[in-house]
Amino acid sequence: EPEVTQTPSHQVTQMGQEVILRCVPISNHLYFYWYRQILGQKVEFLVSFYNNEISEKSEIFDDQFSVERPDGSNFTLKIRSTKLEDSAMYFCASSDGVRQQETQYFGPGTRLLVL
């Protein structure tokens, strides 16, 4: 069964450093997303991406964040200068179809720890 994959599974970084989180969405999916989950809290939307551009972003997704689809398979989230409060699980998701009303399938997540 096709699935979303993410690398790395864990990332430890120093405050102020740049991190890139990588995702390979399900191959025939058209919409891509990043969510995050701070420990013990609910999953929060960060950004959606379609047709090589951002469709929607949340207040969390400030200028320190960026997304890119560098090739036909990868989808990345970059945090330019990490802060302590960026520590969280980051989930990539993808969905199929020409309408956005399609189920989103999640990857296993990257656990980011900023020290």
Binding site: Q41, Q100, Q101
Partner: protein, 110 residues
């Protein structure tokens, strides 16, 4: 504001019993809801979805009920098994983004 909430943070059931997890939503315009299961250290896993033109949908051992009048959603798990132990989230799809509730942690006692 827009939100999706859950009635109980934890639920403990005996193996073999039925489980009911509840969820309330606030956006009357919401028309697509999804239940996700999240096991420790893993990403949310799709369980079942329902659109607003339905009030009930059944899957394998799971049933979702939607009451649009009171803006309430429930997930019923039949014959709950130890492998069902996880956090369950309801989510509301709004304009392409999922709005998650806080989650209910289901514990299954053997």
């Amino acid at each position: 504001g827009e939100s999706v909430g859950l009635h109980l943070p934890t639920l403990s059931v005996q193996e073999g019993d039925n489980s009911i997890i509840n969820c309330a939503y606030s956006n009357s315009a919401s028309d697509y809801f999804i239940w996700y299961k999240q096991e420790s250290g893993k990403g949310p896993q799709f369980i079942i979805d329902i659109r607003s033109n339905m009030d009930k949908r059944q899957g394998q051992r799971v049933t979702v009920l939607l009451n649009k009048t009171v803006k309430h959603l429930s997930l019923q798990i039949a014959a709950t098994q130890p492998g069902d132990s996880a956090v369950y989230f309801c989510a509301d799809l709004q304009g392409g983004k999922l709005i998650f509730g806080q989650g209910t942690e289901l514990s299954v006692k053997p």
